[in-house]
């Protein structure tokens, strides 16, 4: 076996280890619970308001949409945050010091973030499905959409997070760069159908992957009649695959050189400097 594959396998183990760690760390578990609570509040408030002509409640519309938002937010935000943090605290430099350690680190991070994303979706889903009616009742073929849409959604968002995490000078900067994402969620048809917005905002929303992941999840989890709330009364699965596919290709073209550049510039002196600045902020 080539050393690169060997390191990739070490990375798989690394990913599982870090997943286990996050689910046994009180602070992290609290974070997952808090996220679920934050999502459930609007869901609960709108669970009895009917969505015009769609035969479901606004709450039911929100549930799959928010799961899509969770996926995109984890894929982009968590990846960026972890990368920026691990550059500052020396995790990446340690990876750089062992042979093919960066390969292992990257593979581990992909598994870790993907696992976190799925877990962050499962928890609100399990709670939400009892709060609102009509979600995940049609079963069968529609659920198959999840099998390709979730991995594709991760592929489309993780590289974006990797690029942001590589370019951010510190975890604080990375967090700051996440703020525009909040605005993006508002125009991505998460809390209300995107078709209710002015046309130019619809266009903007459809550029980014958040909308498409939400759409894919609605198509998988909502009853067929709910399609009337969507643009063109269609789930547009082909367009979804195309849009997410395009982000995936762009991300996979852009992220590796950016990651390599970041890794090349990583050094003890650079880290010591970040350490100094971070300590100044604390002190």
């Amino acid at each position: 076996m080539s050393p690169v594959w060997y390191a990739a396998r070490a990375g798989v183990r690394r990913g599982w280890t870090e997943l286990r760690q996050t689910f046994t760390t009180g602070q992290d578990v609290f974070g997952y619970v808090l996220w679920t609570v934050l999502l459930m509040v609007p869901l609960f408030l709108n669970k009895d308001d009917p969505l015009k002509g769609a035969g479901i409640s606004e709450g039911a519309f929100m549930l799959p949409s928010m799961l899509g938002m969770t996926l995109a937010f984890t894929g982009i935000g968590t990846t960026a945050q972890l990368l920026a943090t691990e550059r500052e605290d020396g995790t990446l430099l340690r990876a750089k010091a062992v042979p093919h350690g960066m390969v292992g680190h990257l593979v581990g991070k992909i598994i870790m973030v993907s696992g976190t994303a799925v877990f962050s979706m499962v928890f609100p889903f399990a709670v939400g499905v009892f709060l609102v009616d009509g979600v995940a009742r049609q079963g069968g073929g529609a659920l198959l959409t999840l099998v390709w849409a979730i991995p594709l959604g991760l592929l489309a968002t993780l590289p974006i997070g990797a690029v942001i995490g590589s370019l951010a000078s510190s975890p604080r900067t990375a967090a700051f760069l996440m703020l525009p994402m909040m605005g993006l969620f508002a125009i991505s048809g998460i809390y209300f159908p995107i078709s209710e917005m002015p046309e130019w905002l619809q266009t903007v929303g459809q550029v980014f992957p958040v909308y498409w992941v939400g759409l894919a999840l609605r198509s998988a989890l909502l009853p067929a009649d709910a399609v009337v709330a969507e643009i063109g009364d269609s789930w547009r699965l082909l367009e979804t695959a195309g849009a997410l596919g395009a982000w995936t290709v762009a991300g996979l073209l852009l992220a590796p050189p950016v990651l390599r550049r970041m890794a090349r510039r990583e050094s003890g002196a650079a880290m010591a400097e970040r350490h100094r600045r971070a300590m100044q902020r604390v002190g």
């Binding site: 280890t17 760690q21 605290d89 020396g90 340690r94 042979p99 003890g268 880290m271």
Partner: protein, 332 residues
């Protein structure tokens, strides 16, 4: 200089002279640096650094903060591109070193809070696993995690989360991670910063035993006693150049050509530096006899030598630079 050598035992002087000369680069040379230059934002940090290290040698790099010690080490580690000069580490230019080459290096980083959720043994075993494909019949890689934890005295902490370790325990883990791949060459950047005297002493034992197994060690430190104790050879980096290069004993002996004599006469303190303390003290007594009190004859320690040199270089004193240069020449 002549006087110093005359004072030293003939055998000792011969031995020291041999060890102090830079070896010609050969199969035994692990590090070979020539005219290394580093320019950073139009400022010259390194202005032609040159030194070598042989297999199994412990070389200590001393120098004031900002002298370029970390920069030098990072160039050798392949973490930084140099501006000029020739560098060979384990037969390879670090700028083009591949992962096979990297597997033969050990790097002890100055860390602070990475991998806080990992358990001690878990992380050591994980990082060690990357070295397994580079195992040879001669060198079994990686080092067994439990054996290594015992060697650095962390057996009791094996199942603890790294975030809960004390500073000293963390430092020992850093060292363990640095050597888990059984490196042929080990870089240690201020390895004992923050260690208590006992841990420091244990660490010194560990470095010596690694050197005995033919591991070459290049380390930086601010602790001159530590340098004197561990180093086969000491390099002093100041003003972007290696200003002294030689075994600790020889540096001290060369520096101690000047001896400080202190005494009191009629309750007033006096001090005089002399190359011939015996003659000087005899004359002192001949002149003043019983009136002399509080006599003290002190040879310059490595610390004195170091501090004097660095102070003069930092003041930009030309004569200081000349003196340092002379000292450096003497080592060759």
């Amino acid at each position: 200089m002549t006087n110093t050598h005359a004072l030293a035992k003939a055998g000792e002087a011969g031995e020291a002279g041999e060890a102090g000369s830079s070896p010609p680069p050969g199969s035994d040379t692990v590090i070979d640096v020539r005219d290394l230059r580093m320019r950073y934002r139009s400022q010259d940090v390194l202005k032609g650094v040159g030194f070598t290290a042989r297999r199994g040698e412990v070389v200590v790099l001393l120098g004031p903060n900002g002298a370029g010690k970390t920069t030098t080490i990072e160039v050798l580690e392949g973490f930084r591109m140099r501006s000029g000069g020739d560098v060979t580490v384990l037969g390879t230019d670090p700028a083009g070193g591949d992962e096979r080459w990297r597997a033969r290096l050990g790097i002890v980083l100055q860390s602070w809070r990475d991998h806080g959720k990992w358990r001690v043994r878990e992380l050591l075993a994980h990082l060690g696993s990357y070295y397994a494909p580079y195992s040879t019949t001669l060198i079994q890689r990686p080092w067994d995690a439990d054996e290594l934890l015992a060697a650095v005295g962390l057996t009791e902490q094996a199942e603890k989360r790294i975030g809960t370790l004390s500073g000293g325990q963390r430092r020992r883990l850093d060292v363990a991670i640095g050597i888990v791949g059984r490196p042929e060459l080990l870089f240690l950047d201020e390895p004992t910063a923050g260690l208590d005297p006992e841990a420091r002493n244990e660490f010194h034992g560990l470095v010596r035993s690694l050197a005995d197994e033919n591991t070459t060690v290049l380390m930086t430190t601010h602790d001159l006693v530590e340098a004197e104790k561990l180093a086969d050879r000491i390099l002093i980096l100041a003003g972007g150049r290696i200003v002294a290069d030689g075994p600790a004993a020889e540096l001290s002996r060369r520096a101690s050509a000047e001896v400080t004599v202190r005494w009191t006469l009629d309750g007033r303190p006096f001090e005089e530096a002399t190359a011939q303390p015996t003659r000087f003290v005899r004359r002192l007594f001949e002149e003043h006899g019983e009136a002399i009190g509080g006599l003290e004859v002190r040879r310059a320690s490595l610390e004195d030598t170091y501090l004097t040199m660095v102070r003069e270089l930092e003041a930009g004193d030309a004569s200081g630079e000349r003196a340092a240069h002379a000292l450096g020449e003497g080592a060759r």
